[in-house]
Each structure stands twice: as structure tokens, then as C-alpha cells.
Amino acid sequence: MPEPTFEPRTTAASNTTPNTQAQTAVPTIVVVGHGMVGQRFLESLAERGLTPAAGGARVVVLCEEPRPAYDRVRLTSYFAGQSPEDLSLVEPDFMARHGIELYVGDPATAVDRAGRTVTARSGAVFPYDTLVLATGSYPFVPPVPGKDARGCFVYRTIEDLLAIEEYAKGAATGAVVGGGLLGLEAAGALKGLGLATHVVEFAPRLMPVQVDEGGGAALLRTIQDMGLTVHTGVGTQEVTAGEDGAVTGMSLSDGSSLAVDLVVFSAGVRPRDQLARECGLAVGERGGIVVDEECRTSDPAVFAIGECALTADGRVYGLVAPGYDMARTAAEVVAGGRAAFTGADLSTKLKLLGVDVASFGDAHGAAEGSLDVVYSDARAGVYKKLVMGPDGTLLGGVLVGDAEQYGTLRPLTGSVLPVAPEQLVLPAGSGGGPVALGPGALPDEAVICSCHNVTKGAICEHTTLPEVKKCTKAGTGCGSCLKVIGQLMPPPEDSGLCGCFPYSRSELYEIVRTLEVTSFAGLLDSHGREEARGGDGCEVCKPTVGSVIASLAPTVGASGYVLDGEQAALQDTNDHFLANLQRNGSYSIVPRIPGGEITPEKLIVIGEVARDFGLYTKITGGQRIDLFGARVDQLPLIWARLVDAGFESGHAYGKSLRTVKSCVGQTWCRYGVQDSVRMAIDLELRYRGLRSPHKLKSAVSGCARECAEARGKDFGIIATAQGWNLYVGGNGGATPRHADLLAQDLSDAELVRLIDRFLMFYIRTADRLERTSAWLERIDGGLDHVRDVVVHDSLGLCEELERLMADHVAGYRDEWAETINDPERLRRFVTFVNAPDAPDPSVRFIPERDQIKPDLELLSGPVLAVRTLEGTAS
């Protein structure tokens, strides 16, 4: 990511110096503003072969912000853990690949239309043949006294969010001026930052533009239930500040006042048309650069697109989809083709603070003779209205609290519904409704993705979602169409686990759970593929089913000991010998060291055991100690000593909880705000032995400095002054991913309860060998869905998930203690069935750095070369 710079800087190789280059041989296109629409315009140019790399024009982009275009629509997801890089809309090599010159942090300051040049703040002058203004909007701040006090912010750029985040650290209460779409989003963000939050809206209801009165009431109810304080029908009169110039409160038009430390203005946006005004282009009375249907301004060499444009239909669009349409139109016109932007529909679907809100078409019933079909349940926070024309066509609608049908209703706007409208708004379970109006009912020309204007017909030319996204871009904007796209895709051929079972891991989990299956063979014979029944299964399904049965053991009545009876035959070799197989056939041993905390006595025992058995020792990346080089027959002898000293299995061999790393935390560290070591130990002891689809890792940090690297873990915990923040879905490994914030400021009990639910939900629904990171990315609805399920109990599952975990915790027994105390179980720990006392002659070691390493020479027989440690064949 380029640093903020005020030097003109090109990210693409360019050997021309802009200031000195008087006249260009190829036409030059200068784009002012690298926001969402500016970037889309560049992509459209590239698609049409109009970039330098394709031999087209020279393309210069002036970008005011300190970073290239990013997804402003998803701005708020920064607070949910998305980094500015995650939000970027520009592939890292995009500019270089197309030869586009991008000047980051260098805005345009003047346009000379007669001389056809643009001057940038750095002083660089760029001649143009075509100028494209894509300068977006600025947030409108009402001219109230005190609006510039320290602690007043707007909500538009990543920089705004960074500043709000920083200031909020020293604030307790915040207010948002404006209860529209963005205001509510900002309010949700403030609440997420731990502030008591007020919303002040001048209009009599929230989101006055998008929803009607009934919708506003349902929305209000739900938003109040979330703990936000809403003041409607009042204006902000003044922001008061203390002697130090920092905000202390605000007074409202009804005479009341609020004590607040931070204010965010979100009272609408205004087109950034100043540059255009100054160079004499026509602008609208209320702002916006006047353009015609081709997006040309009053000067034919200058185009304006996006939020800064006042379009041919007399509107300024504050949504990204119309902006994208304009970008396409302008690019097509610049390329010499024909295109027109005549207006766009203002449909929106949002998830505001977790509430679905959608409006589409003629949401306010403005058309002559239209009638409303309304269903409202203020208690449940659900409001649905369809606006019907006199002839039965659907004109528009508003959905609050349940916007399930948005994806199918919006494309049907303008046509006669195939069923009675009331059937579509009634809740499930009430006689007669709702009718599931599948996307199958839609005509081919119905626009499914309004962000990218993609029709059902175009989507149905593809068979997988990734393909649709790649080829049509559908679903890559606001994402509200993804669900319908998913329904349009043919079901995958066979989602079966392997050649033996036609079911996925999560389906097998449900079968095992509901039918209380305790036998692999029984499951194979009853639910296996026809041709696999009666067989032995395979190396894929056996450990998978073994793991599922082990996860559910206390609940379905199977033995909790993974090596009992038939279960023994299911386990991978690591589980079978309760140790990790190494490259030469020896095993490693990892005793559990909860939270990484260990006494000197225990350290000494580990040292003694390693010395006595001649094992190689190493500190692992998981804050514990690994002992390498044990033969199968030595495992019980080693463990007898370890168990005696109070150690237990570390499950390094299992798809189960590995470690919960910790930092020293409050006890020792000068910054710590909670006892991270105690929490790590508690969690490690609670979840030890839990069998899962893949390994599980965790860490607890004592403060935001994050020394335990909790955000790289499947579930990571970071202490706050108020409690604990829980992050989920982190991963190191081959595809690293930072964990996402699931919930914050939790008490000990709340934290444990949420983790219980999260883990059990994961175990229940993940695929085989799918870490939480991949799972979270894959499942429908992603993090939001998981949060709904485990925090808001949207599926009514939480009680059961907690019970399953309670069963696990109560049923936990140390596998190694159980093994060494049972002669029958010990029987397997011999190298040779016919010579129980003979050590394995192929397991030999040679010295290295005062310890041992496997003698690989011994293994490389004449048949095949083995890769040696140096990587050369021997």
C-alpha cells in the first residue's frame, strides 16, 4: 500500500515526465478522483482496450486520498476487522499491468479548459484530451456552532474511521447527527467501539429516504432494543466544547441536551463540484456537475461520473450502482461507442446493525392509483410493504426486519406477480403464506445484480458462483444478490465425502447425532454408497467418522476413549498411537502445557525423560515442548513417567484442540488489563480433547498489543478494560487470515459461553479438514450468519450447542492415563507382533548439535531415492 505522499508518484513504469511533456502523441485521458467509480471507469477502459498497455490512450489518475480506491460501501467492516488492504478495490498489479499512471495523495487543484490541462497540488501539470471527473461527494456538516470542536467527525473515508477509532479510546458517549442509512451505520460503529450511542434525526423517523412510516417504526423498535438511544424529530442546535476545545455535549432543538464526548455528522452528502465550478462548467442549482445522457458535461471534452454528477434525469445519485453505470457509459462513449445513462433505480438492501432493511422501486407509493399491501409486526420488528399498481403490477416495496424476498421481488418490479401479493408478505406459518417465490419464477431479462446490471440470463450461462463473479462481476458489489445467484446455480454434482459416502461431513454429523450411531460399519452399511456397503471404507471416511463419533461420544453413547472397540480401526496412525508419526517411523511426544505455563519441577521431569530415552527436544511454535524420536514400544514407558509427574496428552496428534497460547498479561506486564494466563489455562483445560473437523488453536492476549498473536487463531481472545474481545476464524499456515471480531467486552462467563457455541457450531457444520477460517469464508452468510447463530441464537440451537459442550467437558478423560493403566490397550504398542521385545532396526539416529536426528541413510533402500534433508537425491 503506497504511503501518503505529496510528491507526484507513478506506480506504473513511465518514462515521460508529465510537466515537461508538452503535447502527447497518443490521446491522454486524465481521471480526477480515484474512488469507487473512478476505479470502475479504469476497469471499463481496460476492458475496451483503451489503456496504454493495450496501445490505447495515455491514462493519468489523480487520487486525493492516501490510498488507491477501496470499497467505501463496506467501509464499516473496518471495525469488524477488515484491514484497509482488505477493502482495496485494486488488484496489486492492476496499474502496472495496464500502464496506468496513478498519483496517490496528489489531488487536482485546477482545470484549464482552454489549454486542456489539469494542475495537481504537487504542481505537476497534465495535458488532457479527455478529462473525467469522478470526485464523489463530501459529507454535509450543518452549520451549527461548535461543529469544528475536537471530537467532531464525518464518516466517509478510511482516514475518518482511523481518527474516530483513535478518539473513541478516550470517549464514553457518542452521538450521530443524522438517522439515515450512513448515520445508522456510523452509530453501529460507535456502539461497536464501546460508546453509549445516541442518534439524532431531524425527520420524524429513521431512514426517511428509504423507508416509510411503518418501516421506520419497526426499525426504531429493533434499534432501540440494541441499546441505542434514538431521538427523532429533533435538530442539533449546538455542539458544546470544554475549555480544552474538546466536545462535551450537544443541545437539541427541543430544549434538551446530551452529554457526549464524540460527535459524528452524517447529515447527507453533497457532490464535490468545486473544481468544475471554478473552471466554469455548468453545475446544478443545488450542486452536482450537469451531464447529459452520455455523461458529458457542458464541455464535450469533460465527463463527470459518480456521486459528483447531476445526471440527465435531474438527480444526483448517492449509490454506487448508478455510479458504476455511469462509469461504463462514459468509457463506452470515450471508446467511440454509443451508450446512455438515463437514470437508475434506487433499490437498496442493507444489513443495518444486523437488521435487514430493503427498499426498491416506488417504495413510497408515489404512483397514481397505487395501493399498499402491508404486513407489520412491530413486536418482532418486521414490516413489509408491497406497492401495487392498479393493474396488479408490482411497483416497489419496503422490507424491514426480514428482507428474505428482496432478491426475487426487486427483479419482478414492473411485472405482474405470479401469486397474490399478500401471500408474499405474510410470515411463515400463518395460513396461506408465504409462498416461496423462487428465482425460477424470474424472466431471463430480470436484473439480478443491480450493482453490475447483470441479468438472470447472463448469470445462468455459468454453473458456479466463482465463475459468475469472475465473468460477470455479479455479486461483487454490495453482495445482496448472492443468495439468489446461489439459488440459480445447479446443485454440485456430488458433495459426498469420498467414494464410500454420498454425504458431506456435516451431513454425516447430523446422521450420527440424530440416529445415535456409534459404529462406522453400521453407518457404512446403512448410509454408504451402494457399492461401498459391506466394505472397509477408506482412509478419508474412517478418520472423519471416527472424529464425528468422538466429538459426539458422550451424547450418542459411544466410548469417550477413541481407541475402544471398532473406533480403534478408524483412527489415523497418529491417533492410533496417540503420538505423531515422524519421517523415519518414530514418534514425537507433546505433553500438554496449558497456556504455556510450566513449573520448574515439570521442566525438570521433561528434561529427565528426554535424557533417559535419548529424545530430541525442541520448543514448539505452540508454547510447549516436543520430544522426538520415540519408538512405538517406548511410548507407554515414556508416558508412564510423564503421567506420574502430572502431565497429560497434548493431543498434538489429533484433529482437536492444540494449544491456547498466552502472554504474561496483567500479572507481570505493565500494559496488561486482564489475567490472560489464567484465561488461557481455563480455556485449554475446557476444550482439551475436543475432536473437531481440523485442529483448533487459540491464544489469549492481555491487551491490544497482542503478544500472544490471538488474531492468528481459530478463536483468539484479546483483553479489554471491560472484559474480553473474541475473534474467530484466524489462521496461520499456508493461507493466513486474521480472525474477525465476533463479540466484544465479554465477561468470563459470556466469553466461555460464546466459545462453546462457536466451536460446537463449527464442529457440526464444517467440512473435513476445514479450518475455521475456510469454514467462515465458505458458509452462507459468513461471519454475520455465524454471529446470528451463536450470539443471537437465530436458529434456536444455542441451548443444544452448550449442552453438547457441557457433555464433552464432563466426559473428558486423559487418553494417555487411560492407556497406560490398561494392559489390553497397551497391547498395540509393540513394533513387531511376532517379536514384542525387538526394537525396530529401521529406527536409528545419528548425532547432531548435541542431540539426535533420524538416520535417513538407513531408509533409502535400492528401490527408490529418498529426499535427504539437503534436498538432493541419494
Binding site: 440416529l515 450411531v517 456409534t518 460399519a521 466394505g535 511376532n834 527408490l864
Partner: protein, 119 residues
């Protein structure tokens, strides 16, 4: 509730392996677990892996995994594909047909097969 239907014909006799011109007694049949293997030390220092499948059929192949050189095939998981039993190496998971010794993932590679008898 599903019930286990393991149809192992567990005899009481012993498992024997043809080695040179002799039959080497490996172990009691009851010591084998269906779906798993055991390692056998041969008189010449070589090693064999002996398996019993779910139906009680016994197989023996070399214990050495040709892909890594480690003597570990006896610790792999047994499976069946198209009615033919195989073992998957516990190291890098290549599968070997228990009846022919041929690697199912790379037909160029195979392991020795021993004749076994289980009464």
C-alpha cells in the same frame, strides 16, 4: 440407533506367512484388529505388514513404504475401493493394493506381497 455388524470370522487359529520354503507363524488370529495391520519381523531382518479386513480376510505385504523408505505400512489405514482392499501409507497417504502390492496412485511402484494363511 444403528448397531455394529462386524462380520469377522474370528478363528482361534494362527496366522502364518510363507517365507522362503517355510511357513513363519506370525501371531494368533485373535490378535488382529479388523481394519488395521501389524508389523512382522522376518528372519532375514526384513519386515512385513499383515492386515485383516472387515470380512476376516488376511493379507500381507512388505512393511516398507517405498515413497519414504520408512517401515510403516503396517500402521496405515485399511480401506476398500471397488471391492479391492488397500492400505494407505500413514506418511504421505499413497495407497497400495493388498492383493497385488501395486500402488494405486502410481502404478510404477509396488511393494512385495507375501502369501499368508490364517486358519
Amino acid at each position: 440407533m444403528a448397531t455394529a455388524t462386524i462380520t469377522t470370522a474370528r478363528g482361534t487359529g494362527s496366522v502364518r506367512l510363507a517365507h522362503g520354503t517355510d511357513w513363519l507363524t506370525v501371531c494368533e488370529r485373535g490378535l488382529l484388529t479388523p481394519g488395521r495391520g501389524v508389523a512382522v519381523l522376518l528372519p532375514d531382518g526384513d519386515q512385513a505388514a499383515v492386515f485383516m479386513d472387515r470380512a476376516g480376510q488376511v493379507y500381507a505385504i512388505g512393511n516398507r513404504d517405498p515413497f519414504t523408505g520408512a517401515y510403516v505400512l503396517s500402521r496405515g489405514l485399511l480401506g476398500s475401493a471397488g471391492g479391492r482392499p488397500f492400505v494407505a501409507s500413514p506418511l504421505l497417504k499413497q495407497r497400495f493394493d493388498l492383493a497385488t502390492g501395486v500402488c494405486l496412485d502410481d502404478e510404477e511402484v509396488s511393494v512385495p506381497v507375501f502369501t499368508v494363511r490364517a486358519d
